[in-house]
């Protein structure tokens, strides 16, 4: 009897081993274009350190151009979801395998239920009303705004059904009506190093698109749609409520998702599509697999037109998939061009893109789904009318792709350090778009008018410069404008200014080092700042303390520049000589005064030009409130300019950074001509119709 059982076990083990080897080969040798249907269900087959109970996180590499996992995989989500296009709901079961790598026993697990944010008493909506919103302002509540994410049942394998143990918590603001975080106390703590499996049945109801998730007409973007466990970070659970200005934070792992949708839908999602089959009920089930990603989003619309191509990256081929709106089909090439050029810059400058896929979604027009990033899946933004000289498509697509690095791989905490994903990404956006579309023309170059991304970022910062520091939780900003201006605009401007301090090449090395060191991890702000200091070998605390941790504002000005003859009392005689055409040997006393108007202290350069063509450069440490330079020369001062190389992007007012002695009214005349034209034309139009 015992021998018989041993034989059975031996055969079973051999079978499992063989299957594991075959699966591994299938995964690593999977062709790029047509991935085979591979079952990547949870099992100990692929795991290196499977738990005694057979539960583990798979170490598959099917969806990445690497023969080994690139992240420390903490989670494995297996979701089987069915989308009801009429009701905009998803009914799903989720099996979450969690690997306790915290080093301590865990007795509770918080979960994000993001879609519950779209309820009238939720913190998200309350924030939007108070702080303003990028999307819906909620002036009036409408039923279509409603979203929900309800856990029908939750079972912890080995501990039974714990649905009754679920408790909504509001760790950020104590809002009793906010249901975006639910906490589960397990019956038996999960030991360090152990695995635990949660079996969750849930239903998600999407709102009409809000915060880049939901439906619009017959389109849907499934973002933040399933119960997602928090992150154990720095000795505690990090699971914030969903706020109007916050985004997300999650652990890396493996995703196996089956989506059942109406048969007519065209579907796109994070990860690699591994299977598609038709069902008898006029639906189809599409299966996706993702490796080393920390979120999963999907989209469906019956009207997408699909463009596909392959990009050869440093680590292998990437399948590029563009899901375009029919009316934007002519812009598909623009989408692909900017993706290819951006990939090229990112791989050269920061590091390789390891995933095998990238899906670019051109979302439903007039939806709040444009401009969003999920792992290997981004949404752009466009319109039926998009002139070539207006680079909105390029701007959005580049930005969202950049998030594959600054969020996707360098997975910072978007709740607490929004500047580290949005801001660093805005900085690299400036660099990449400058390189592709030109420094002053990267947003617009049409009808004689230009606009560059660099100045646009600065513009968004200076309007809110004294409101908030960068190093601040995303939901603690004064309002959404301040959040946007600081996290995007200020960070980009601060890092561009830092380039001027440590040098462009050094900054590039630092960014590369930061990416390579912290990809597939959750770095902190200090990790980033210290990397820069290490690479440049300088103590930059004086700068970081002001620019990153503080909110002082920088405004330097050239207070005055003037000259007068040293022998001014002999002026008449001099004029007489001038009239005779004699050489002007007059010696002038010239003064240039600089002033630090605000509290941001920073060394600056000033260039003084004289009317004999001579240029003088001075370095001012900026410690005192003002400084005056004086010169005695046979020439008069013509102009003085602070930051002559234009490396400082954080100065609030760059009009007073220079002073020209002789007034030059030409810019005003030109601007006035435009304003005059508009005024006259409006007057004429008014008179045309009214009398």
């Amino acid at each position: 009897m015992q021998i018989r059982w041993k034989m059975v076990l031996l055969i079973a083990a051999l079978a499992l081993g063989l299957t594991a080897i075959m699966n591994r080969k299938t995964a690593t040798a999977a062709p790029q274009a047509a991935a085979p249907a591979v079952k990547t269900a949870p099992s100990a087959k692929n795991a290196k350190d499977a738990a005694p109970g057979g539960v583990s996180i798979p170490d598959t590499t099917l969806a990445i151009n690497s023969d080994k996992p690139m992240s420390e995989r903490v989670v494995h989500y297996e979701i089987d979801a069915k989308y009801d296009a009429g009701k905009h709901t998803v009914d799903a079961t989720e099996v979450l395998t969690y690997h306790n790598l915290t080093g301590q026993a865990l007795d509770h697990f918080p979960f994000h239920l993001y879609q519950n944010a779209f309820q009238p008493k939720a913190t998200f909506v309350r924030d939007a009303k108070l702080m303003g919103s990028r999307d819906t302002g909620y002036a009036k509540w409408e039923d279509k705004y409603y979203g929900s994410e309800e856990i029908k049942s939750l079972e912890v394998i080995g501990q039974g059904d714990l649905t009754s143990q679920l408790q909504y918590i509001a760790p950020d603001d104590g809002n009793q009506d906010d249901k975006t975080v639910v906490d589960l106390h397990v019956a038996k703590p999960i030991a360090p190093g152990a695995y635990v499996q949660f079996k969750i049945a849930f239903q998600t109801k999407f709102p009409e698109t809000q915060a880049r998730s939901g439906w619009k007409r017959d389109f849907v973007l499934g973002g933040q749609w399933f119960p997602k466990v928090g992150v154990w970070w720095h000795g505690a659970w990090n699971c914030h409520q969903y706020h109007n200005t916050t985004e997300f934070f999650a652990d890396f792992g493996v995703y196996d998702v089956k989506l059942t949708v109406p048969a007519y839908e065209v579907v796109g999602a994070s990860g690699l599509q591994v299977d598609e089959k038709s069902n008898p009920d006029n639906t189809k089930t599409v299966t996706y697999h993702g490796d080393d990603i920390h979120d999963f989003a999907w989209t469906a619309s019956p009207r997408y037109k699909v463009r596909e191509s392959v990009y050869q990256s440093q680590m292998g081929p990437i399948k590029l998939r563009f899901l375009m709106q029919p009316a934007h089909w002519s812009q598909a090439e623009r989408h692909e061009k900017i993706i290819r050029e951006t990939l090229d810059r990112f791989e050269k400058w920061y590091g390789p893109y390891p995933y095998k896929t990238l899906t670019v979604v051109d979302p439903e027009p007039d939806s709040a789904a444009g401009g969003m990033e999920y792992p290997t899946f981004i949404t752009g933004d466009s319109s039926w009318f998009m002139p070539d000289g207006f680079h909105l498509v390029e701007l959005v697509v580049e930005h969202e792709f950049g998030h594959q690095y600054w969020y996707g791989m360098v997975a910072t905490n978007e709740f607490e350090d929004a500047w580290m994903d949005e801001g660093i990404n805005s900085y690299t956006e400036v660099k990449v778009l400058d390189s592709i579309l030109g420094k002053n023309t990267s947003i617009m170059n049409m009808a004689g008018a230009t606009l560059g991304e660099r100045e646009a970022q600065r513009g968004s910062y200076i309007s809110v410069a004294d409101r908030d520091p960068m190093a601040q939780k995303a939901y603690d900003y004064y309002n959404s404008n301040s959040y946007g201006g600081i996290t995007y605009g200020k960070t980009a401007s601060v890092l561009l200014t830092l380039e001027g301090i440590i040098g462009e090449d050094t900054m590039a090395k630092a960014m590369h080092a930061y990416f390579m060191k912290y990809r597939f991890t959750h770095p902190t702000k200090e990790d980033f700042l210290k990397t820069i200091e290490e690479v440049c070998g300088k103590d930059l605390r004086w700068y970081f303390n002001q620019a990153v941790y503080g909110s002082p504002v920088m405004d330097y000005e050239v207070l005055n520049a003037e000259s007068f003859p040293v022998n001014w009392y002999e002026e008449k005689k001099e004029q007489k000589n001038d009239k005779k055409g004699a050489k002007d040997d007059t010696v002038y006393q010239s003064f240039v005064a600089l002033h630090r108007k605000e509290d941001f202290v920073m060394p600056v350069e000033v260039e003084i030009k004289f009317d004999n063509g001579e240029k003088v450069r001075e370095h001012w440490d900026g410690q005192s409130r003002w400084i005056r330079y004086s010169y005695q020369k046979k020439a008069k001062v013509v102009s003085a300019e602070l930051d002559p190389d234009h490396t400082v992007q954080i100065d609030r007012n760059d009009f007073n950074n220079s002073f020209v002695v002789e007034a030059n009214p030409k810019p005003t005349y030109k601007l006035s001509t435009y304003w005059l034209f508009v005024t006259q034309w409006v007057s004429q139009a008014l008179a045309w119709w009214a009398v």
């Binding site: 007409r217 017959d218 009207r303 029919p326 009316a327 027009p365 007039d366 039926w384 009318f385 002053n440 617009m444 004689g448 008018a449 230009t450 606009l451 560059g452 100045e455 646009a456 600065r458 513009g459 200076i462 309007s463 102009s639 300019e641 007012n653 760059d654 009009f655 950074n657 220079s658 002073f659 020209v660 002695v661 007034a663 030059n664 009214p665 030409k666 810019p667 005003t668 005349y669 030109k670 601007l671 006035s672 001509t673 435009y674 304003w675 005059l676 034209f677 508009v678 005024t679 006259q680 034309w681 409006v682 007057s683 004429q684 008014l686 008179a687 045309w688 119709w689 009214a690 009398v691």
Partner: protein, 328 residues
Amino acid sequence: MSGNRGLLSSGLGMVGRNKRYIFWFWLLNLTLAEFGTSAFRKSAHAILDHSLGGERLVHGFDLSVMANLFVRPEFGPMAAMTTPALYFGFLFLLATALFLPGVFQGYASTYRLPREDFFRACGQNLWRFIRLMIVAGIVMGIATGALFGLHGVLERKAAESTNELLLPEVRFVGLFVIFLIMTGFRIWFDLAETDVVLSDQRAVRKSIWAGLRHSFRGLGRLLGSYVVATIVAAIILVGGLWMWMKIVPPESVLGAFLVAQLTLLFLLIPRFWQRGVAVSYWQQRMMVPVVPVRPIEPRPIEPQAVAVAVVPDPAPVVPNPPPTTQGS
């Protein structure tokens, strides 16, 4: 169409014979706009004149410089710039209402209207025009509100469609229809204005009624003529802007000013052309015809016996000689 050509050509002929009105209205438009933009200019001078920061406005047109300028606290709020411009725009509107009767009188005249007659027409009709403007404002305001309300409903319906192009199509077609309808209203009140001036009609309501009646009667001809003039205006505007962008170097402020002002000067022509069309139509269809009256034939007078008093010849009247002037 030949009727349209007749109205269009006679209307254009009136504009051509009275080119000076266009010039004066342009000058008025420019002068008032100069006042309206003075606050803007002053603020811009204070910030830009001694700064190198404005250079990017001269060599090209960097929108970020303009945006940065507008957010400077010392530049002042945008309302401080736009409000005076709107006020002076309104003044131009009033001035147009004031001087338009003179223009109608000039267009209707077969000779160069003396200045006194021009201003007499302006003065005589000022109050009538204000009353007309009020009525037109109410009628056109209600119509505009209703049309744009309907347009909004249609747009919202179109926005629900999965065909993305339906919304811009509905928007464009809707705006075109609104333009046509509002042009119909404009024709109505243009005819009323013409009638008030040229019939010297004190009872404005009668002219409004006559205008309505005739705008229906001659709708095809008039609408066709007005649309042609509007198309010409659009061509002038687009052509002017194209010249500005393509021909004028970015650094040439004078070039930009000249092209802008020429465009604005020419932009006045189509509206005056429309008024010429209205005057021409009035002369053809609305003017009260002069009925030919048969001269009264003198009846032969029967000679009658008249008592004649015989008066002796008076002494000849000799004018006094002019007084002699003393002196050299």
